[in-house]
């Protein structure tokens, strides 16, 4: 049992660190949730891609470096420690790409991945519908068979990034005659600028259009944009939801960097004798460290040929609560300036604490609410009886 990185890993870290030191913009980019900021973040993706830093774990032929999971974790640590910009390509890279690796065709991967990694095509996710949030099996949007493809109709909502993105992916009910709500769904990729698509941006809590509603009216999608078998969409979507994805949705580097910044803020702003704040800052540091080590243990298990299952639910509950507590502590440390919205001119640290707080509030909700995750922990890890909730 050790925590020693190999010489190759240390070299990789060094390489990432120097590249980031040379390239990370000194002033933060404008907010990702504005048109201008979106464009700036797209350019940043292009810069990452140019030097193969945009999707390090992908094979080289798609623009990656074939990095191991541990190297990816190292990259993420360096990335967040460097204060580099948010990733506009995140939805594609961490949600769609793993599905393409597992269920896509080589043609799809070759066509979709490089422009995804370069920021040329930015992807939005389109999971939720007004009547299908936690209960994703009750999806109603349809895919109707047509010549050479499918016609998508219905409404998707809370589609993150969709206000400015190019394409989206999601599940559609293609076989309404199926005998079970989980069956008869198809996983499809579709354009957001096609005829029949209406995108209505939605403001998140602070008013910024971080997501959108999508209204689809017989939107044509060719067969080549179906992932996996038609009718097998649920299995396709779920097979990548667990396992490694539970590990890569929110990397530890994000939280160790945030905890380090919090300690700096505390040293600058707080009375060190104020143990109430001190204890909360320490808990953020301890939590970030625990999450990092938990992830290393999981990565070691995977490297040993093990599988991860419902552990990703522990993960989700832990990081989302850590992130929220960390940002609540930061706002309290900021005193009266903790109330300022991110776009306020006087907001500390370019509004990043306020933005981070608003973002963290969504953590216990998205990617499976923490209530659902606790059910999974209880039923699958502890073996408690299913059924009543």
């Amino acid at each position: 049992m050790d925590l020693d990185f190999s010489a190759a890993e240390e070299a990789f870290r060094e390489q990432a660190r120097s590249w980031l030191a040379a390239h990370v913009p000194t002033a933060p980019l404008p907010s990702l949730e504005t048109e201008e900021g979106f464009a700036a973040h797209r350019e940043w993706e292009a810069a990452l891609f140019a030097d193969r830093w945009s999707a390090v774990s992908w094979p080289e032929r798609y623009g990656g470096r074939g990095a191991s999971l541990v190297e990816w974790l190292i990259f993420e640590e360096e990335y967040f420690a460097a204060g580099a910009p948010g990733r506009v390509g995140q939805n594609g890279i961490s949600l769609l790409a793993p599905t393409l690796f597992e269920h896509g065709t080589e043609e799809q991967r070759a066509r979709v991945l490089p422009p995804m990694a370069s920021g040329e095509v930015v992807w939005a996710q389109a999971w939720s519908e007004p009547e299908a949030g936690s209960d994703l099996a009750s999806l109603r949007s349809t895919a109707e068979r047509t010549d050479g493809g499918w016609l998508l109709s219905g409404q998707k909502t809370w589609s993150s990034r969709a206000a400015f993105a190019d394409r989206a992916f999601g599940l559609f009910r293609s076989h309404p005659e199926a005998d079970h709500p989980h069956r008869g769904l198809t996983y499809l990729m579709f354009p957001l600028d096609a005829p029949g698509v209406t995108v209505r941006p939605l403001g998140r809590l602070d008013g910024r259009p971080a997501f959108a509603e999508l209204f689809l009216d017989r939107v044509f999608v060719p067969d080549e944009d179906v992932i996996g078998e038609p009718g097998q969409g649920w299995r396709v979507a779920m097979s990548t939801a667990g396992n490694e994805r539970g590990l890569t949705l929110r990397s530890p580097g994000r939280f160790t960097a945030a905890a380090d910044r919090l300690v700096e803020l505390w040293r600058e702003r707080a009375d060190p004798a104020d143990s109430a704040l001190r204890d909360r800052v320490a808990d953020a540091v301890i939590g970030a460290r625990a999450y990092r080590l938990f992830t290393f243990a999981a990565a070691s298990k995977l490297a040993d040929g093990g599988r991860l299952g419902a552990e990703s639910s522990l993960n989700k509950v832990f990081w989302s609560e850590l992130d929220l507590a960390l940002h609540e502590t930061a706002l309290d440390l900021l005193g009266p300036y903790g109330e300022l919205a991110a776009e306020a001119g006087e907001a500390p640290a370019y509004g990043s604490w306020a933005e981070g707080y608003v973002f963290s509030l969504a953590g216990p909700i998205y990617a499976g609410t923490n209530e659902i995750q606790r059910d999974i922990i209880a039923e699958r890890l502890l073996g408690l009886p299913k059924g009543r909730r």
Binding site: G203, R204, G335, A341, A344, R389
Partner: protein, 342 residues
């Protein structure tokens, strides 16, 4: 001892609830946030007509005297309906001006109190205990500032840009410096401390009201929102979270009432009671906001959905005019030495 609202107070409560329920406060907030204060102003005058601001103005200046119990009732309703504008700061300014008048400085009181009582004047205040900003100074007719021993009345239109808050209804403005000095000395300090107490009290009541609405709306939502074939309000995790939110608020409520009674009995000695109410109501309202957001899921996180207005407000009121930690320290300062019973 009768620790219950009287009939007239209950009627007043219902009147305000009806008035505000019909007033489209979410629309007024959204306009207010974008710098258009006309709807907020119109609502302000109707609140004044209903007698809200007169509750903080002595009879000699057109009010009905300082009536903390009624003021607590009113501010709970202002919170329930998320009324925008410097309501707390206007009341606190009135208290400050009235107290200075008692010390012989009658000029500013004569100039401003009648207008405050009638609703003609919307004013704001920056004073120790209330942070560096003057709330909604860009919409107000006057900004009063107290700095240490000095007190200045400045021209209302001379201020920096409004800083948006996490609560869209709150516009934080760094007050101008160099206004006309109106008074100075220990009486100002005393009056400002007094005003800060009333501000904390009114904020506590407002937070309580905001929390109650958050629970109410969430109850309505989880009764009708269906997932897995049943209303999500039938899930025990949902039930218990709402039960906890309600418990927090229902035990903050008597503290708010208790602070009102203490203010009525001894305005100078109610600090610990006010601090207890402020800490409890601020924390309970924020807990209710977290619960409301979590149980609504993504829709609660959407700016277009009205719930978001109350969520932001609960967060802001938690620290306005006294953070929970400051309030807790003050509660302990107020516990007499020696175990001698309650």
């Amino acid at each position: 001892m009768r620790f219950l609202l009287g009939e007239a107070q209950t009627d007043f409560d219902r009147t305000l609830d009806r008035l505000l329920g019909a007033a489209d406060t979410p629309g007024a907030i959204r306009a207010w946030a974008s710098g258009d204060s006309s709807a907020g102003r119109a609502l302000w005058r109707r609140l004044a007509d209903a007698g809200v601001f007169g509750l903080a103005v002595p009879e000699a200046y057109g009010g009905v005297g300082l009536l903390p119990v009624e003021l607590g009732v009113a501010f709970t309703q202002l919170g329930r309906h998320a009324v925008p504008g410097p309501v707390v700061e206007t009341v606190a300014s009135a208290v400050l001006l009235a107290r200075l008048a008692e010390c012989g400085e009658r000029g500013p009181a004569k100039d401003w109190l009648p207008g405050i009582a009638s609703g003609a004047a919307m004013v704001t205040l920056r004073a120790p205990g209330g942070g560096p900003y003057a709330l909604d100074a860009d919409a107000a007719d006057a900004v009063f500032t107290v700095t240490g021993e000095e007190w200045g009345l400045s021209a209302p239109r001379d201020h920096g840009p409004a800083q948006p808050s996490l609560d869209p209804a709150r516009r934080l403005v760094r007050p101008p410096t160099g206004g006309v000095p109106l008074a100075a000395g220990p009486s100002v300090r005393d009056a400002a401390a007094h005003a800060a107490d009333w501000a904390a009290f009114a904020t506590a009541a407002q937070a309580l009201g905001a929390g109650l609405t958050l629970v109410e709306r969430t109850v309505t939502y989880v009764r009708q929102r269906t997932q897995f074939g049943v209303p999500i309000g039938s899930f025990q995790a949902v039930k218990h979270r709402l039960a906890d939110a309600l418990t927090g608020l229902e035990f903050a409520r008597p503290l708010v009432h208790g602070a009102a009674v203490a203010l009525a009995r001894d305005p100078g000695g109610a600090g610990a009671e006010i601090a207890a109410a402020k800490a409890a109501a601020g924390e309970a309202a924020y807990a209710a906001a977290r619960t409301a957001l979590q149980l609504h899921g993504a829709i609660g996180y959407t700016a277009e959905y009205d719930l978001s207005l109350w969520i932001g407000k609960a967060r802001a009121l938690r620290s306005a005019w006294g953070t929970p930690s400051e309030c807790r320290a003050r509660v302990l300062e107020g516990v007499p030495r020696g175990v001698d019973g309650p």
